[in-house]
Symmetry: C2
Subunit: 404 residues, 2 copies
């Protein structure tokens, strides 16, 4: 595709106006919104209002002027993005902490079922937290198997199937309907990690009868670095599980200051400590932006951007490790390359920000709200030039940073 | 004390310049900094830099430009406020979540010791989380007893003594040296909740050989509503305990993306999910301000403000439930009153913000950095007027809010 063709497609893009709602830096093509979403223009003013007026002027009065309801209010907005309903989603803690709560709760749900089934190469925190969670429930174990053996690993011992909907490296997407049904057929519960899904691909938790989900706020939801995470518990299960992290904000009456814990009704019982209001304001701003976009337009454009980047990779002889079928992937594309780390650094030096995933994956987020076909063509040209010049082999690009 | 006398004392106050470093609203006397610290003037610009430059312009590059080190960098600053040393404190999660990590870890430290000892009427989340934590360790139990029976409850079964240094209602302060020694004499570990202490009264964790501590960032540290919390683990214990919340940010090599969990060396192992950077920026700003103040000047002024408010209470016939001895209390004062809730609402309506703690406590934070003797005299005059006029008995002040 030529730059002119790309510009023509972008000019007709129904999502084009969304690009102007982000404060993208000059001279950067940002293909890492799947790691950290960029700053929405509305977020600065929202944070300023939170800091100067809500905190600075109203002080503790703000707890009764919108703060205390924020975890559920924003959760209800996220519910609309992931096919859940009011009262099923709450914003709280981090994805890691929420995974812990739900895994422990799921292990206690039916004590005859003691095994968590998950996938080798799942996002590390999912597996690490599952390790920690099974250690908190006597007799519980974690069975981590490759994707092609998950089906046979799910059996009458399985308490919970723990899967990440869209894989952080390859973007491979599980069929949520199929795998939820598989878990349920075996009598197991299922927990979907939506960190790379929400805001990127269609998610219909209730259409699948999913049991639990978690997800982060800082990727496709554009909620800011380290934004609060969310969790989903299906309505039918809510009164039958409780959080092992039984903090006061999840208490039925936190301001009675009682010694004994009694879980709040509904999804509020999954709260633990005091909600982080500055971070909540940024997250809500990002969610409001995403709610204004048409999910089907996002899906169409995501597929188009992917196809363009895949064809550029093909032309450059790069090995694409992401599924070609749009229904079977997320909204990023990954290539395997022996110098993936150096290539990533060389690209960043020329203003194309993607990222590297150990040991050999070069990953590009193709986020339809603010990335156009022109960006992809330009990024492809820069990538081609680096490879032709072997610029990535320059010694400065081998320097390892703490965060890759 | 007359208003003129109060003004004269304030004019000579060495902490007086700190008041100008806070954006206190006009027409408000803010006696609730022990619940939510007010906005430091430096925080707005710090947040703007975080949002516009660090997030907006630098995007993911900021992870290698200060973000990834923030939990430990800010933790090291807090260490200086609580008598700890570099590498013993980390900023992460909420107080509730940090309590959970440390209580479970303490229960696993010596499996022959199975009991957590704490106090009836401790801050609720401490007890609630302890309930949740003991349920995660087979055989563990929670023994909650009144203050005068804690000493005899500590024995060879005790794994951990869980105490809040300064009581949230009464401001009664434990002698940290004495109680740490008592726990250690019985072979138990001790965990201090510093939420109402840090920044309010002298804390010398290492002088007491304390084992663990937690605390929140949003009270006397002025870190913003729902600011990230911190935890302290004494150096001598760090390699001997691990977090049950084994999230990826506490992994020895998070960016190796390994399936198996291996805890990071030192205090970083207590991290779980991705650090919340917007909230971190506000917290750091508050901590930096507190580090500039002289702790002994804070102690002297806190005692003086307390004595003034106590004498006003005496004159009004109010029952003071806080200890009169400055060494035995924190930096707030509480009165018991049958119409405490209505009194609190009536005070807020006239611009004096204190708070109510169920069922009958009227609580005032006396925070030396930004409250002067003039504020206390004025607040006392307003309180006296309300009581004389019985204004608090007006029906509008009985309306119950979600957050009291």
């Amino acid at each position: 595709m030529t730059l002119e063709e790309a510009r023509a497609i972008d000019a007709a893009d129904p999502l084009r106006p969304f690009r102007d709602r982000f404060a993208l830096p000059e001279g950067v093509i940002y293909l890492d919104g799947n790691s950290l979403g960029p700053l929405p223009r509305a977020t600065g003013p929202a944070i300023t209002d939170m800091v100067d007026r809500q905190w600075g002027e109203r002080l503790i009065r703000s707890w009764n002027e919108g703060w205390i309801d924020a975890p559920q209010r924003i959760g209800d907005k996220i519910a609309r993005l992931i096919g859940a309903t009011t009262g099923e989603v709450i914003v709280t803690d981090s994805t890691s902490v929420n995974l812990f709560k739900l895994i422990v709760a799921a292990l206690r749900f039916d004590p005859t079922r003691t095994v968590i089934v998950s996938e080798t190469g799942n996002f590390p925190t999912d597996l690490h937290i599952a390790e920690g969670a099974v250690a908190c429930v006597p007799g519980a174990t974690l069975n981590v198997v490759p994707r092609d053996r998950i089906g046979q690993a799910i059996n009458e011992q399985t308490a919970l199937v723990l899967l990440t909907h869209v894989h952080y490296k390859t973007a491979a997407r599980f069929d949520m309907v199929e795998w939820t049904a598989r878990a349920h057929t075996a009598g197991a519960l299922i927990l979907w990690d939506l960190s790379h899904s929400a805001g990127a691909v269609p998610v219909e938790l209730n259409r699948c009868s999913a049991d639990f989900a978690v997800g982060c706020g800082y990727k496709h939801l554009n909620g800011g670095p380290g934004a609060p995470a969310y969790l989903f518990v299906a309505s039918r299960l809510q009164e039958r599980l409780a959080s092992p992290l039984s903090g006061w904000m999840g208490h039925a009456a936190p301001f009675d200051f009682a010694d004994g814990y009694a879980p709040a009704p509904g999804v509020k019982r999954w709260l633990a400590g005091t909600p982080p209001m500055l971070a909540m304001a940024a997250l809500e701003s990002g969610i409001d932006l995403m709610l204004a976009a048409d999910p089907s337009a996002i899906a169409v454009k995501s597929a188009s951007l992917f196809n363009l980047m895949a064809s550029i990779g093909d032309d450059l002889g790069l090995e694409c490790v992401s599924p070609r079928d749009p229904a079977r992937r997320g909204s990023h594309i990954s290539f395997r390359h022996p110098q993936a780390y150096a290539l990533c650094q060389a690209l960043i030096a020329r203003g194309v920000i993607g990222d590297f995933r150990d040991p050999d994956i070069l990953r590009f987020g193709l986020t339809p709200l603010y990335i156009g076909h022109e960006d992809v063509v330009l990024a492809g040209q820069i990538l081609a030039a680096i490879l032709t010049e072997q610029h990535h082999l320059a010694p400065e690009f081998s320097k390892r940073y703490a965060v890759t």
